[in-house]
Amino acid sequence: MRVIDFLTLALTAVTLSAQSDLLIEGLQQFEKGEYLAAEITLQKAGNDPRAHTFLALTRAALGHCPQAVADLEKQFNAPLNNDLSLLAGLGLARCRAAVSADAALPVLAQLRARFPDDADVLYESARVYMRAWNDVVYTMFQKAPSSFRVNQMSAEVFETQSNFKQAIAEYQNAIAKNPKAINLHFRLGRAVLMESHEPQALDQALQEFQAELALNPSDAAAEYQIAQVLVAQQKQAEARPHYEKAVALNPDFAEALIAVARIDLNAHHYPEAIARLERAVSLRPDSESAHYALMLAYRNAGRAADAKREQVELEKITKPPEGEFTNFLKKLDEKRQP
């Protein structure tokens, strides 16, 4: 359970009475996980809204959701106490998820909107989304086992497991079943590049990206990947029109803008490169690649002050996160550094 001082919650503005003693006792039992005892105690705690909320949370913990949902909904939507509201929302989400993952999703969406950084909310969301994903995939395998989508889904799962050999085989199966489905050749091309470091893999991937483009001539990502392969094959001149086409198809394609700008830089076409890179930075302010390329473009153009400014921006976004682990390492460093 989350780290909330339940007693503080209970004692806030509590007038001393026999009923408040029961509320405190019930909360202590709840905190210890003695839910059966807590249910009995909190039932006797009168009409205090906190007693109702914790009674509902206790019932949710016991799996008695039908009796808990109404009070949880009420407290979740009450704006008075954020902590109680959060607890009620989490309880409500769990109760809804017990029925179906879909039923819990609206509550989780609200929770994430109201408490976007809360670890419990994020964890509960991930858990329910994963369950929803599992449910849907299971249904797909049950209802449409021979569909190319089953192969596609399998391939994508293998990709996430870095099992690119199996992913390639599944993409190929999917393509055999549905040669006109878009995005299969693209994903296959990428899996080929991940699977092998052989130069021949570049040729094979190139064929897949070209096949994707044949199916979907407006696919900017396929144009971009073709250019990337050509650059790796030392065919920079052939790559440029593909990068440019990618930008033409998707003017907000930051990676393609950066790639064209790099070619401009190599040709000493600094104003053109800088214009593209400034746009890339505005599109992707968190992109190391964009800031780095822009910094060098300014430098090469003799705009030292602008280059320095970009350097500062780059250093800001590449600075390691100040997380718990980093702090731990720093302390270790201070201790050991002679």
């Binding site: 470091h197 790796a232 030392q234 780095y292 910094m295 060098l296 280059a307 590449t318 050991r336």
Partner: protein, 542 residues
């Protein structure tokens, strides 16, 4: 039958012509001793992954390159004397080379200006400075030179350089990270202890950083730690390995490039006042072209495109490209890796590397040696392996390289877990040999049996006002229609030491028009009308 014949004819017509014939003749030259470096199938700690370097040096001034091989824990670093007849004799016993432990890097230079080349060996633990006693033996002078470190440090690449140009060689030593066996997590202990889902030795990510060291030579056999006051200890967010020095901005003062692992590489620019400023990011050598910090291991420098500026090369990890940084002038660099044709080899973990002109055509070719850090990779059944072959790139003379690894001889294609590589001409025939320190095996010793067509010269410089080893001397050689540059440098490659003599391929030139030398003292000297195909000694004029 008929179709088979056609295939045979076609295959023979299209087979690549061999460009070189590098063969591993280690056993023939007497290098049969294996050098331990951690586990062979499992490595529990990162300390098992980074050793070790190898050095060419002529310690007895007989004109032939000797060899020093650094050992990891469980063995001894060894000194081999070149007998001038194509063989090395193991002369370790009685040589005074005594320190054992987790040896990492090696660099050489005459720190006391007595005319004999001294050796610095870096360790996890305490470094060892061996003073050369008249070419007969070595003396461990670490403590006397005030180089004892108060705690065990993970010292890696090193270089001797005269950063303040006072005529005495100072010491730069990179540090990898803070390590000890007691507190370093075991394989699989945290997310930094996995490779492709397999538990492996932890780090460098997740382990505490360490900083670089600079020791100023006091000129009396002792050194002073000036790491803080010089500014080299300021960067504290990089895991540093290979070191290469050079006057990258051509202001007459030596700068220092440090290849760093999974973190930005460093470029210390000499401010001419005893201090350095780290400027790698803005100068374009900290990251790759995508703004990502790669896993830098070794480093080499040369003017590969003949524009008169020293360029930089860095070896990296598998699934990364090697990095070639082209000096666009003034010590500002662009990532020229893809443009130069080096972006294809991404399955290798690169370590020792060097620019060398194997065909003597006047253009610096490039070689790197490879080997994984995780022996466990072989269990994954992927196309990345623990033991890996070398890579040779031939310089086309037009700003690009051709990968000729598969037509450069069987020695290149042998698979080892290689680390340090040293380049030098051990038989003074104008063709460069490569000595390679392989983990848990005898070193490899590659000799090119295909005679290089071009002429050549080896320049052996000796300082008088400058440090005696002439480290930092800049040479500008003109022969025929080509002018080439190079510098005498200590350290380099991966934790290794190349021949202190400078080798130049001269193609068809039959005489050297001029050799201009900018000595570290600041004195300029020009030698004219020199002959080719020989070793030429040049002494700094008073």
């Amino acid at each position: 039958m008929k179709s088979g014949l056609v295939w045979l004819i076609t295959a023979s017509l299209t087979a690549a012509q061999p460009v070189a014939d590098f063969r591993n003749i280690a056993a023939q030259v007497g290098l049969t001793q294996a050098f331990p470096n951690g586990g062979t199938s499992i490595k529990k700690y990162i300390i098992e992954t980074t050793g070790s370097g190898i050095a060419f040096l002529d310690y007895d001034n007989d004109g032939y390159l000797d060899l020093f091989v650094v050992s990891g824990e469980g063995g001894s670093s060894r000194l081999y004397h070149n007998n001038g007849k194509g063989k090395f004799d193991d002369v370790t016993a009685g040589s005074g080379i005594t320190v054992k432990g987790w040896g990492q890097g090696v660099c050489v230079g005459d720190f006391d200006n007595d005319g004999f080349t001294d050796i610095l060996v870096t360790y996890w633990g305490q470094n060892a400075l061996y003073r050369n006693i008249a070419g007969r033996r070595f003396e461990d002078v670490t403590a006397r030179a005030h180089l004892t470190q108060p705690v065990a440090r993970y010292n890696t690449g090193c270089a001797m350089l005269d950063y303040n140009r006072d005529g005495h060689l100072d010491l730069f030593i990179a540090n990898y990270l803070q390590f000890d066996f007691a507190t370093t997590p075991k394989p699989g202990a945290n997310p930094f202890c996995y490779y492709r889902g397999t538990a492996v030795s932890c780090g460098p990510r997740g382990l505490p950083f360490a900083s670089s060291l600079l020791y100023r030579n006091n000129g009396d056999g002792t050194f002073t730690d000036v790491s803080d006051s010089s500014g080299v200890s300021a960067p504290k967010q990089s895991y540093c390995l290979g070191v290469i020095t050079g006057d990258f901005n051509r202001d007459g003062w030596p700068d220092i490039f440090v290849a760093c692992d999974q973190t930005p590489s460093l470029l210390f620019i000499n401010r001419k006042d005893g201090t350095f400023r780290e400027e790698a990011l803005l100068r374009g050598v900290a990251l790759d072209q995508d703004g990502k910090a790669l896993s830098g291991m070794g480093a080499a420098a040369a003017d590969y495109d003949g524009d008169g500026w020293l360029d930089l090369f860095r070896t990296n990890f598998s699934d990364e490209r090697e990095t070639l940084y082209r000096n666009r002038g003034g010590g500002e660099f662009d990532d020229a890796t893809a443009a130069a044709g080096l972006a294809r080899n991404t399955r290798y973990v690169g370590w020792g590397c060097g620019f060398f002109d194997f065909d003597n055509d006047g253009w610096s070719d490039l070689m790197l040696v490879n080997g994984h850090v995780f022996p466990e990779v072989d269990r994954l059944k992927i196309d990345i392996h623990n033991a890996q072959r070398g890579i040779v790139y031939r310089n086309t003379g037009h700003g690009t390289f051709d990968d000729v690894s598969e037509s450069a001889g069987f020695g290149i294609l042998e698979r080892h877990v290689s680390r340090g590589a040293a380049f030098g001409d051990f038989d003074n025939d104008g063709a460069i040999e490569i000595a390679i320190n392989n983990q848990n095996e005898p070193p490899a010793f590659l000799k090119n049996f295909q005679r290089a067509p071009g002429n050549w010269v080896l320049l052996k410089l000796e300082g008088t006002r400058s440090n005696r080893s002439a480290i930092g001397a800049q040479v500008r050689l003109t022969a025929g229609d080509r002018t080439q540059i190079d510098e005498v440098r200590s350290g380099g490659s991966y934790l290794s030491q190349n021949d202190l003599r400078l080798h130049f391929g001269l193609a068809g030139a039959t005489a050297i028009d001029s050799v201009e030398i900018l000595w570290p003292s600041g004195k300029k000297q020009v030698e004219r009308g020199l002959a080719v195909n020989r070793v030429i000694a040049i002494r700094e004029k008073p």
